[in-house]
Amino acid sequence: MATTSMLFIATAVLYSVTSALYLVALFRGTEGTTAAARASRSARSVLLVSVVAHMTYLAVDRFNDATPAMPVIHQTLTFISLGVVVAFLIALLRRPAIGVLGAFLSPVTLLFFLGSGLGRSVSEVSPEVRSALLPVHVGVSLLGIVAFALAFAAAMGYVLQERLLRQKRLGGLFQRLPPLDVLDMFGFRSVSVGFPLLTLGIITGAFWTLRIRPDAPPLAPTHVFAIVSWVLFALVLVLRVAGGWRGRRAAFGTILGFLSSAAVLLGYMLRGGGA
């Protein structure tokens, strides 16, 4: 127990340090781009260490009988936070310019990770709600949210960068953020990956709920948020392709969509881990 807790705290601290470093790298006032690039690189190094700590924590937790088993929602959250970081690191290999987006991604990671540690005493999914569909539902939804988290970071960068460009404030922050087109494309691709996963997650979730609890109210708040995010992301994709709806509006749609899908998770958390 002690080892697991210590590893949990260590990982949380490392994620906090990463967030602070990334935020400093992006927002520190007068420093030039070279200094910012250095800060961004050191943030990435700490992020790599955090990932190792996170994985160690998961491994120890998995094989430590003394620890109460992790409820599904907590497992989901910890895997989302890990997934976000790993996906970000992979994306960085292809597009080093988006490094500064760590300033938006690492706090998100930190929140998910902290969320996974709350209320560990809650019992595991009760046997009667277990189903073969559950891992599929959880798996695809998890990956979908990871993709949306990346899209969210790109959209935040886009909104910020577009505003600076429009206000003609071309100082350090403007210089450090990637080009608009890079942010736009990265956000679009991430939503394109996340959307089918979310769709599949909603379908499997609906099936599962209907089978396990036929008497459940037809629309719980979690379901509403899931559908809202689905509609928002659908609009972002469809209007971009069909109506040239891109740029700032698409970015706002993406941000709202991500927040809405995060609200689904929050809903599960508040209900204490079950369905």
Partner: protein
């Protein structure tokens, strides 16, 4: 005693017309460097750019060096009032000047990157002509290192400061790579053409539109683009990513109505409009449209001023770096001075002879008279042993020889090659 100095003219003291007359290049430069030998300059590097003509030298006497350089320059341009524009820095001030010039702190546009390359070239040429010795070699390699340090540790070189390069930098901040992008230049004008050229230089394709087809063709040829009919304006705009407008039209030609149609036709892809014309070519309301980014000439000029202000701020940090480096270099140079070296060598020899004498006398019973005689012998011995080396040192005052002596006799402590000299016990005599 010999010293380092800089004698020359720069944009601070002389008009371009004067600097042009004094500039030295190619064979003339090599000849000049060849002629330095035998004169009052022991070592010399001549830096000649469009903003400065400067002689960096190691000279026996700075005043002689100054008049020598004045004569050389007057010989090249007898009608130029060289005396009025020539400046001289010596010793520490000369060292600081070289470090500041290399770091682009003394440039017309602070932080511009060319100067370091120009100094390196000047140094290479002087080196090949055999005009560089120990002192200048060390001086210039330090100057290069200082420049590198300033560049990496401060943001002095960041942000562009000309309208055309700012336009290009902004386009890159909107579109990322510009290789597959389309630039449309409407009208003709120096600034607009410079911006179009700069953008086309990044790989973007360029279309030139003008009311006069001949003019369009001429400009397109000059900037490396293709000319288009004025009637094709709307359809060209629909395919453009960057538009530079610089016509003499009295009213806006890119009106809100026209641009509404254009943005719809281009499905709201981002469009970067650069309005360099006065009066303006683009209706200001166009700048409020979705995914349209409109910058006029005032905006661009303001960015240029901000970037320059930023560089000047970074320059303060750079000056501090230079000051630290000057101090280090001066410490090294002091260690090369003759007197402390002579005193150091005498001390070293006296110590050894004295210690040996004491050791031997300790076992013997000698009278005071004998002891005095032996001590006289001790002094004579040290003087005789050191006579030839010290004569050679004094005769040549060659920094290489002084440096070698200091290393041979470990006057700067042990094993520290090219050492940061210890704040030595020997008195340091510095010539001002």
């Amino acid at each position: 005693m010999s010293d380092l100095c800089v004698v020359g003219v720069s944009h601070h003291t002389a008009e371009l017309a004067v600097r042009e007359r004094l500039a030295v290049e190619g064979d003339a430069l090599r000849e000049l460097l060849g002629a330095l030998r035998g004169g009052p300059l022991r070592e010399g590097v001549v830096l000649s750019t469009c903003n400065r003509v400067e002689f960096y030298a190691h000279a026996d006497a700075v005043a002689e060096a100054e008049s020598h350089v004045r004569e050389l320059l007057l010989a090249r341009a007898p009608d130029v009032p060289v005396g009025d524009v020539l400046y001289t820095r010596s010793g520490r001030d000369a060292v600081r000047h070289a470090f500041r010039v290399a770091s682009s702190l003394d440039s017309l546009v602070v932080g511009e990157p060319q100067i370091l390359g120009q100094i390196k070239e000047a140094y290479d040429i002087a080196h090949r002509q055999g005009a560089v010795g120990t002192l200048l070699d060390r001086w210039f390699s330090r100057a290069f290192a200082v420049a590198k340090r300033v560049r990496s540790e401060t943001s002095i070189a960041e942000g562009t400061v000309s309208v055309s390069s700012i336009a290009t930098a902004l386009a890159k901040k909107i579109f990322g790579e510009l290789t597959a992008r389309r630039v449309v230049l409407i009208g003709a004008g120096e600034m607009g053409e410079a911006a179009a050229k700069s953008l086309a230089g990044t790989g973007a394709s360029l279309r030139v539109i003008n009311r006069s087809p001949e003019k369009a063709k001429a400009v397109a040829k000059a900037c490396g683009g293709e000319a288009r009919e004025y009637e094709a304006l709307a359809s060209e705009l629909a395919h453009a990513d960057v538009v530079i407008s610089t016509t003499a039209s009295k009213r806006p030609i890119l009106t809100e109505t026209l641009m509404k149609g254009v943005t719809r036709a281009r499905r709201f892809k981002p469009l970067f409009l650069i309005d360099i014309a006065v009066p303006r070519d683009v209706d200001p309301r166009v700048g409020k449209m979705s995914n349209v980014f409109l910058y006029d000439v005032d905006d661009l000029q303001q960015v240029a001023e901000e970037n320059l202000a930023h560089r000047h701020k970074a320059a303060e940090a750079a000056e501090r770096i230079v000051e630290v480096e000057v101090e280090e270099f001066e410490t090294w140079r002091r260690s090369l001075e003759l007197t402390p070296t002579i005193v150091g060598m005498r001390d070293r020899f006296s110590e050894i002879v004295h210690a040996e004498l004491e050791r031997t006398l300790g076992r013997m019973d000698v009278s005071d008279t004998d002891r005095k005689a032996l001590e006289r012998m001790e002094r004579a011995l040290v003087n005789k042993l050191l006579h030839q080396p010290l004569t050679a040192l004094k005769r040549d005052r060659d920094p290489a020889l002084i440096s070698a002596s200091r290393r041979l006799f470990e006057l700067d402590g042990t094993d520290e090659e090219e050492a940061q000299p210890q704040p030595s016990a020997t008195p340091v005599l510095k010539k001002g």
